[in-house]
Amino acid sequence: MRTKEWKLVITFDTTTQAFAMEEACEKHKLIGRLLPVPREITAGCGLCFCLSLDQEEELNFFLEKASCQFKQLYKMEL
């Protein structure tokens, strides 16, 4: 059985915002990937950017500084 893990999930209004986030995270050495938005949450864009929980501190620091647009940041089991 697939084991669930706690993840950081960022949602967006548009696909453009999702790819901008992917690009910016990669530039700042934050490791993550785009995947379909889980059904528990709703967002305009069908893609979300997902990162491991151990990057929470770096991600929060990055989101405060960067000008990337996003809808919401969730912590959830995926």
Binding site: D13, T14, T15, T16, Q17, F19, A20, E23, L34, L35, P36, G44, C45, G46, L47
Partner: protein, 381 residues
């Protein structure tokens, strides 16, 4: 064959454009219709192309650019998606049918319009703009560079005028994108309409529209967006609001390669090369007896187009002879900008248009000068 019909479309393109279209057709699924690599690849390509276009046109947010099939679709969106009965619009005599026909259509629906005339040389008097303003004026449409004479309008001057009167400036950059510097902020452009297949070297069927933040265009088509499936309305955010249905990502992959080529080569380098070719041709034919050249060649900034007639000869027959005898491809007749032909008194005759590309050579231009010279000498009309 020598191709001088670049104002109609590019024929010579960077090889990367063709390679990227082929690669896209072999590897791309449908953008925003899944999150696997076949769907992410085209979605990333769209994103990268928006970014490159934003860099080219100095647009802060790439998400304000939506893809369309061509400049005509973009102009239709701007005109029909923003104007309503009672609104007034200003346009110019330089405009192409891609502006004129939607404007005429909107006139049937209660929109009023004022045309800024141009003189025989295709020049407009900027003083006339103030006189055209009405209380209901909502928008000014301009052709940045005339596809008939190469006349270039002063975007900064018109942008300042539009800002002063709080009206929207919509620019048709079909002939200028990639060849002249465009800066939407500096030039105060609210909506920029461009095509991909001319000086951006992309495939036909690619183009786009930039819409300044705060402007909401009513889409002309609605449908699948890959997002918000259960909403009865088209998603309202740019660019999704204007991009219903499967995108031409195969074509846009080629456009990305074309825009990358333009950015890497440099707009000014492309511009200078085209200007060199245009002036060489102009200077080579201007003294040929019986050749009548249209447009302003007094030294002002202009597009790389030379349009002329030989006496009273049918312009299409000159093009036919150029193509069949000399292997030189040009365009004759009317050029989809009927008001310009009225200004140039060429409604019946049309005109022969040479339009140059970065990929043309001086040798090709020399051959063209010889051909025009020979035809002018042989013809008795």
């Amino acid at each position: 064959m020598i191709y001088f019909n670049c104002a109609a479309t590019s024929l010579q393109r960077p090889k990367e454009v063709i390679e990227q279209v082929v690669y896209a057709m072999q590897h791309m699924g449908n953008a925003a219709r899944g999150a696997d690599e076949t769907a992410l690849l085209p979605a990333r390509t769209l994103y990268m192309t928006r970014k490159k276009l934003a860099e080219l046109f100095r647009i802060n947010d790439p998400g304000r650019i939506a893809f369309t099939t061509n400049a005509t679709e973009s102009l239709n969106l701007a005109i029909k998606g923003l104007l309503k009965s009672g609104d007034h619009i200003i346009y110019t005599q330089l405009d192409h049918n891609s502006i004129l026909r939607p404007v005429y259509e909107m006139e049937q629906n209660g929109v009023t319009a004022t045309m800024i005339p141009c003189d025989y040389f295709g020049r407009i008097s900027y003083d006339q703009l103030e006189k055209a303003i009405e209380i209901q004026t909502k928008m000014m449409m301009i052709t940045h560079c005339s596809n008939v004479t190469g006349t270039l309008l002063d975007l900064e001057k018109i942008g300042a005028f539009c800002q002063k009167h709080k009206i929207l400036l919509v620019v048709d950059a079909a002939q200028s994108a990639g060849v002249f510097p465009i800066d939407v902020t500096k030039q105060k452009i609210d909506i920029l309409c461009f095509t991909g297949h001319k000086s951006l070297f992309g495939p036909q069927g690619t183009g786009g529209i930039y819409v300044r933040e705060g402007i909401l265009i009513k889409p002309l088509k609605t449908g699948g967006s890959g997002t918000q499936t259960f909403s009865k309305e088209q998603p309202g955010e740019m660019p999704d609001v204007l991009e219903a249905g499967t995108m031409n990502t195969h074509g846009i992959a080629g456009l990305l390669a074309g825009v990358t080529f333009v950015l890497e080569t440099g707009v000014s380098v492309i511009h200078e090369k085209e200007q060199e070719l245009m002036w060489l041709f102009y200077n080579g034919i201007k003294t040929i007896p019986n050749v009548i050249i249209y447009g302003d060649f007094s030294g002002v900034e202009r597009g790389s187009i030379v349009t002329f007639n030989i006496g009273a000869c049918d312009s299409k027959s000159i093009c036919d002879e150029l193509a069949t005898v000399y292997g030189i491809v040009t365009r004759g007749g009317g050029h989809c900008a009927p008001q310009m032909h009225i200004a140039m008194h060429t409604v019946e005759q049309g005109a022969v248009r040479f339009s140059f590309s970065f990929f043309n050579t001086m040798e090709e231009v020399e051959q063209a000068i010889q051909a025009v010279s020979k035809i002018a000498k042989d013809r008795e009309c």
